[in-house]
Amino acid sequence: MEKMMLLGDEALAQGALDAGISGFYGYPGTPSTEIIEYVQRSKQAIENKIHRTWSSNEKTAMETALGMSYTGRRTMVTMKHVGLNVAADPFMNSAMTGSHGGLLIAVADDPSMHSSQNEQDSRNYGHFAMIPILEPSNQQECYDMAFYGFELSEKYHIPVMIRLTTRLSHSRSGVQRREKLEQNVLRKPDDIFQFMLLPAVARRKYKALIKAQEEFEAESLASPFNTFKLDAQDYSKGIIATGLAYNYLKEVYGKDSIPHPVVKISQYPIPTKQIHELYEKCESLVILEEGMPVLEELIKGAAFQGLKPIHGRLDGTLERDGELNPNKVAAALGMPAKYGKDIPEIVTGRPPALCVGCPHADSFIALNKAVEEYGRGHVFSDIGCYTLGFMPPYNAINSCVDMGASITMAKGAADSGLFPAIAVIGDSTFAHSGMTGLLDCIYDKSNVVIIILDNSTTGMTGGQDYTAFGKLEEICLGLGVEKGHIRTFFPFVKNHEEMTQIYKEEIAYEGVSVVIPRRECVQTMKKRNKKGAK
């Protein structure tokens, strides 16, 4: 079979399709979005009726995947790193229930925060939940790990995390496919206690999870994705490289063979014995990992402190934050620095901006006029394209924390006496995590104005559909917002005066108001028109 040119995300999706998956669940988030987008376009997925629509958020996605696993079928849940915070409750407890059908949790981290609010490393979560983690180093491994991950998950009845990072998720390379596996048939769990985490059962299950750690470690030792090259010419240092860092290591040595012992880790928990053997043999260790110093902290521990040098992100051998690249790895290994020329001083930054014609721009211009008399500092916002409303010329918002926080932070500020307290949230973000916060406002009759920017899509991640589409007013009514205080308008240059007036009226109303500026995203509109023209 000819190789397919696939992004890391797509390779994982294709791998799962070929490995007999029955359903994907997830919420869009850079850099994980392309996994499900690929499946939504895949003929193979459509013909085999593989579940592939988006969930409301990562928590509902994780739980739904667990439900599919309950029925014995293979399933995958996808999200970006901060999405796992949202899904943390079912995620942690899925380690306790275990899986029935193979369950893969694909989490894409974003070191250097290309499109994120932090750079948390999901391996911490995998370690926390005590489940095996797979960390592919290239596109082929992404594909192969779908097969391997399902097998591991079904062998031990345990969810398996696949941890991706931006540079793999969004880099394309050739992938060789394998023979396809059939889907599992629907089969209820054999053990009626398996998914019942009553304390008495949970205690028993936790002991079993602890006991399984030895087996997981044995699997890591035998894993085709971990390699141990302990014999070498030069023992002045031993190198441990995880995931993508292993590529950079190979890159900096190029055609030369690496003179030091090298351990490649792409499956966790780490095989302690081999790490110890490496430590014994070498005068020092250098630890290269994309993300936080997770392995470094594990290995360094208290006992090793001070005996032999262990170099990595903690001692400054590598920068403590930000993604790796071949230059950083070369420097960490003491190789000569390569560099072209400096960027000329006249080159200025070109930050992302709202698109020309974006409906959010109109909504912000009118909002700025409406709140002018109160000064800056009254508008809480959220995660999405409209976060760019912070930038000039709008300077319209004052916070961006996590999905849904605009509404609840505005409520807290209103409770404290801030007036006006305004929340600006996108329609998809509202569906993801805004509804419960709105219910809190209703319950307390909080004096807030909640602006739901309805561009009818999940814009920032490239225009995915979302679960509350076309139902915003009904949802707000159902949650208890008064009909007269749900106001909609068409955000457009000509309407600015009317829009400002509506904002002002709702600011003046003492209670919960919802304002919905509604106009389609210019990007999805362009795409739709192109499709229509074909």
Partner: protein
């Protein structure tokens, strides 16, 4: 043989199409490739880049090592300069001279051109104007590609084949426009 190319531009200017064509031509030769793209927030009118690595041997890193790039291929002059730390001293800058101004403090164009010309190997031309002249307005990116291919060791025939393969689903007229743009780019010295 190995070619490390930084493709540069502003979100929406069509650098990924260039990458697709070069990648297609490389695969036809039986080469390997890695292509790191930018998705997400930066695509909204921000600066974007793609690391395209083509080789007849195994490629390890998805990212190009600074100081190693054979070429910066840019559809915008200021964006060409943003990646200078990546360029090898013998490497080429092939850039459109037409600025894309979506920021208030865009620098003086002549200053940008002077900076580009400080590099030993460069080609700087108004690809937008050339594309307009040959009535292929939307193929500015292919003009830039045309100016680059001889320095990457690709023949006109190879790239033409890839353009045909990639654009044929969009119709004969679009294929023709892009072939004309390729030819116009090749003529730039």
């Amino acid at each position: 043989m190995k070619k490390d190319i930084i493709l540069a531009g502003v979100g929406g200017q069509g650098i990924l199409t260039i990458a697709t064509i070069l990648g297609h031509a490389a695969l036809k030769r039986g080469w390997q490739l890695k292509q790191a793209e930018v998705h997400g927030m930066s695509q909204r009118g921000g600066d974007v880049q793609s690391h395209l690595r083509l080789s007849d041997e195994e490629i390890h890193s998805d990212l190009i090592t600074m100081g190693d790039a054979d070429m910066i291929l840019s559809v915008e002059p200021m964006e060409a300069l943003r990646y200078l730390p990546y360029l090898h001293e013998d490497g080429w800058i092939i850039s459109n001279s037409k600025p894309f101004k979506n920021i208030p403090n865009y620098p003086n164009e002549d200053d940008l051109y002077a900076e580009i010309k400080k590099n030993k190997n460069h080609k700087l031309f108004d690809a937008d104007a050339i594309a307009r002249e040959i009535k292929a307005n939307r193929s500015m990116n292919i003009v830039v590609l045309g100016a680059a291919i001889q320095h990457l060791g690709f023949s006109k025939e190879e790239i033409s084949e890839s353009i045909k393969a990639i654009f044929s689903p969009k119709g004969e007229m679009i294929v023709e426009a892009n072939l004309k743009a390729l030819e116009a780019g090749i003529q730039i010295s």
